[in-house]
């Protein structure tokens, strides 16, 4: 017996405790469910390991940059900067709650499938944007562990239930709006339920979707450059960093200047900040590369299972599938949310807020873009601009609300993105904490 328990202990603490190995084993489950050959399963396992180690390396690269920049901002403006983007935020979460987050993600998905299967008349769509499900599970885990002090099985089950309810309700609400222009083809599974809902509700009052269709407008083609996440980062981050640098140097706080000088080590600070911004883009590229193999190993299995168990369910998919329905709505959405992000940043600097939120143009493209599609289809181009502007305000300023709920993520320089973490999950966590307080927990 003792050898068995020793072997089990070895397996749990030496093998499973390593997040990449754990993710690799989960990938094996996904590949086996797809009835892949032995060769493909081993390949998938090894590629997931490589991907997850690359993921940590990418995370290391961006934290080496964001950390000194925040060190300079703190004494200068008594603020720290945070950048709302799921991938690096997930990387931070994985250092603290990797196993429980992945387990609650898997259990949550099973509950989600059962809910849709049992309540088919009410809930019609299956959530299939797997990387956002991982991010949701990680976010809920951070809250439950660091704010509510949950652990073990209770943690996994509570997180799984909260996530599964969101994954079940959110695409059904999105379907209510998308069926008007996209029928039963597919609907949206994205962390932008709040933004899309608000834009879709006000759109019909703003304009006429047929007479004022954005896709009849002629907009410049170079805007499609923002499709490339890495380029968007490489263009915008150096600009933001240099603006921050100018503020730091102008204010000339001695502590901040010392951090600056020791970080750049003789290099010109403007050059250093520009290259630092580009290295951020490189780090994000590595993060995405790392995550890709894992998602590719699991998503086909998830899709296969849901099709077998719930034939005829509407697939709820990631936002880019919507862009082809209204390319110009996407571009207007990007513009509206970008303007909102830049105005939010200026506002936070002026009121000397304790947390500064960088304008996230990557999210302005993805989330703002999908808001633009819904709003254009329901209220024309003015609705696309106004709806995505409101969404942009929510997912930039809302970061101040969600941030204190996220434990170590709150001081990492990154935060989960989108109006659902910023508004929906903040509201859920506030309510959860209040109820917990009634029972003396948390």
């Amino acid at each position: 017996m003792e050898t068995v328990s020793n072997a089990l202990e070895f397996f749990v603490f030496q093998v499973l405790a390593q997040a990449p190995v754990f993710m690799g084993l989960v990938a094996i489950v996904g590949l086996l469910l797809q009835k892949k050959t032995a060769r493909e399963v081993i390949e998938g396992f090894l590629r997931t390991l490589i991907g997850m180690y690359a993921f940590s390396a990418g995370a290391g690269l961006i934290f080496n940059i964001i950390a000194p920049i925040n060190e300079m901002l703190k004494p200068t403006m008594s603020t720290v900067g945070t950048y709302a983007l799921g991938e690096p935020a997930f990387a931070v979460a994985m250092e603290h709650v990797a196993q429980t987050a992945v387990l609650s993600f898997m259990l949550g998905w099973i509950i989600h499938i059962l809910l849709v299967r049992i309540f088919r008349k009410t809930f019609k769509a299956i959530f299939l944007t797997l990387h956002h499900m991982l991010f949701d599970a990680a976010l809920v885990n951070l809250f439950l562990v660091f704010v509510m002090k949950f652990s073990g099985l209770g943690l996994i089950i509570t997180a799984a239930i909260l996530c599964s309810l969101y994954w079940t309700i959110s695409p059904t609400i999105m379907y209510h709006f998308s069926k008007k222009f996209n029928g039963d083809n597919f609907t949206l599974a994205h962390k932008e339920m709040i933004g899309v809902t608000i834009a879709s509700l006000i759109a019909p009052y703003i304009g006429d979707p047929i007479k004022e269709d954005a896709d009849k407008l002629n907009l410049p083609g170079w805007l499609s450059m923002f499709q490339d996440v890495n380029l968007t980062m490489a263009i915008t981050m150096p600009i933001f960093f240099v603006i921050m640098g100018i503020i730091v140097v102008r204010t000339a706080n001695p502590a901040a200047l010392e951090v600056l000088n020791s970080t750049i080590g003789g290099q010109n600070w403007v050059v250093w900040l520009i290259l630092a911004g580009i290295q951020m883009a490189a780090g994000i590229a590595i993060l995405i590369f790392g995550l890709r193999v894992f998602v590719a190993a699991l998503l086909p299995a998830f899709k296969g299972i849901s099709e077998k168990l719930i034939p005829g369910a509407i697939p709820a998919l990631d936002c880019p599938v919507f862009y082809s329905l209204s390319p110009m709505g996407t571009v207007l959405g990007f513009i509206g949310s970008s303007v909102a992000g830049i105005l939010s940043a200026i506002f936070l600097l002026l009121i000397k807020a304790p947390l500064f939120v960088y304008p996230t143009l990557v999210i302005a493209f993805f989330d703002g873009g999908v808001i633009g599609v819904f709003a254009n289809k329901l209220g024309g181009w003015k609705a696309a601009l106004i709806g995505s502007f409101i969404g942009g305000l929510l997912f930039h300023l809302g970061v101040l609300w969600i941030n204190p709920f996220t434990g170590p993520l709150a001081t990492s320089g990154f935060q989960f993105s989108g109006s659902d973490p910023a508004i929906f999950w903040s509201a859920v966590f506030t309510a959860f904490k209040w109820v917990g307080g009634l029972f003396g927990a948390g």
Binding site: D228, I288, S324
Partner: protein, 96 residues
């Protein structure tokens, strides 16, 4: 046995829709004797991937260039299996 063809599906991040495209392709080749290997990529790094066929959408092709000597298949919707079948099968047949 037909030649093994490597297909690269390209979307903005290589995380969401390109994997849906992968699923569509697997459906299409299932039951045929085409031998395919599918990899997903993002527009930023897709040019650096090795492959025989690159599949992307009509919007995304504006944001990257497929490597020299590869075949490009453009679709309007990754999720439309019928459109994918129509566009992809002739190219597969030619290369196999």
């Amino acid at each position: 046995m037909k030649k093994r063809i490597k297909i690269v599906t390209v979307c903005s991040m290589g995380l969401g829709t390109s994997i849906l495209a992968q699923i569509s392709i697997e459906k299409i080749v299932k039951g045929t004797d085409y031998q395919v290997v599918i990899e997903t990529a993002d527009v930023g790094s897709a040019t650096g991937y090795a492959g025989d066929i690159f599949i992307t959408t009509k919007e995304l092709i504006k944001a990257f260039t497929p490597p020299m000597g590869t075949r490009l298949v453009l679709v309007s919707n990754f999720f439309d299996v019928e459109e994918m079948r129509r566009e992809l099968l002739p190219v597969l047949e030619e290369l196999s």
